[in-house]
Symmetry: C2
Subunit: 305 residues, 2 copies
Amino acid sequence: MKYAVVGAGAVGSYYGAKLARSGGDCDVHFLMRSDLEAVRKNGLTIRSKDDGDFHLENVNAHGSTEEIGACDVVLIALKTTANDALPQLIPPLLKNDTILLTLQNGLGNEEFLARHFGAERVLGGLCFVCLNRVAQGVVEHFGHGTLSIGEFHGPPQPRTLRIVEDFQRSGIEAKAVQNLITERWRKLVWNIPFNGLGIAARANVEEVLRDENLHASTRDLMRETIEVAARCGHAIPLDFIDFQIARSWPMGPYRSSSQIDFENGREVEVESIWGEPYRQAVAAGANAPRLEMLYFLIKHLVAKK
Amino acid sequence: MKYAVVGAGAVGSYYGAKLARSGGDCDVHFLMRSDLEAVRKNGLTIRSKDDGDFHLENVNAHGSTEEIGACDVVLIALKTTANDALPQLIPPLLKNDTILLTLQNGLGNEEFLARHFGAERVLGGLCFVCLNRVAQGVVEHFGHGTLSIGEFHGPPQPRTLRIVEDFQRSGIEAKAVQNLITERWRKLVWNIPFNGLGIAARANVEEVLRDENLHASTRDLMRETIEVAARCGHAIPLDFIDFQIARSWPMGPYRSSSQIDFENGREVEVESIWGEPYRQAVAAGANAPRLEMLYFLIKHLVAKK
């Protein structure tokens, strides 16, 4: 299987490097921009306290998708704020049955790819992983790593399971999911409050959990998200809130990618994490005042930077 | 009438200087800390595009309330975050019928004074004025200036009217109000959103009004405030929202005192502007999710500074 990784930030580099290391069937090619020369020279380094560090010496790093050519699977790990570049970037990678697997955050990315390249080739993956890109070609892995992969429409297919198996062989805890968009909403139950308060309150995960007010707001935002998801046809039980809070404590002073982006003056994925869920809430007639205010505040703060 | 001004920031200096300038019956004494020497040397300066500048050369500036001694009226213009100092500062100013008139922001200040010095001597005043203290002994006046004075309990008394007349003679648009606490809630209808978004969104009045999302949040916060006030027995008509929005446009890029305090790393009056209204909302069983989240965010942001 020939894989292309479009968007070699923390997520793309991590999952791509894992696949490339596993060797065998996986021929992995990375589209790179700012890191191209560094990665060609020094390869990719993944640092991980849990799994041990590893270094990939020879990386297929490319400066254009024309150079990569047609692939079986395209992993899309570009920031959602750069989605407008995809209609130019993707076509050279396509043959008839090329799969587009978006590992991007939030809602609206599968729809975007379907609009431009046809829904039948679109899959999505949810990354439950704590990563930061710490230097050119160097990614730090803080924990987790689960990857949930599903078809944009319908249950898993043989092609879905084949990709899942590639990731499993590479050491990733991957699984196929029955309803991808339900899983996206489940992930947003965490991202909406924690990424959001990371920006609006400048608070990392531990600070949010320890501040009894922000902790309460987090649970309320999670409840609102679950209510919006329900209105949109995606049932998530309310005890998922306790589960999400419980799994957050061990993260300690972890800063979400959005908080880091905001603090470093980089683009923040405002629309896919808060804007699209908010618009779906409005369209579904759901009441989500905290999500609304958080979205409005973040949009203003980000535009201002 | 002998007046003392406790807390000679922008508000205390402005109203005190106006009274002192009017002369006649008003003998005005200022308690000062950081500005004491500067004001003794240079007096007080009020700059105003609307009303013309004026300078008060000889100011009764004192370093302690013992030095001032017993007064007829004490104007309290201390920041509410410094209320804990009042039980020490006030006693030297008191005789049997001394009036304590708090010009402070938000809710809870009359209650605090009543608890410590008896409710029968407590009055409150609401200042609708745009002021900034720009240097030691120098206050800039941007507009407005109305002062609404009322008894803590019950309708205006002869003493209320007498103080109102002193302010009127000094050139202040002063009036007596029937229900002081209702007026406090009316003022909060403005302060809660504009001071709040000044901190949480770093947005001045004009930026809030021009951002369609923040503008909508402002109206929603105003509506929540009106609903909480109603639950607490203070009726404010909903068309008051349009009136408040309309009077805000001419303020332009005005930054509320809370925004300036926050940006300059000074203490922010979190509890009197958001905390006490929020607690009264909870006690009254009112639903105010935006006020709640705004309060929680601001409290965290301020504590963090």
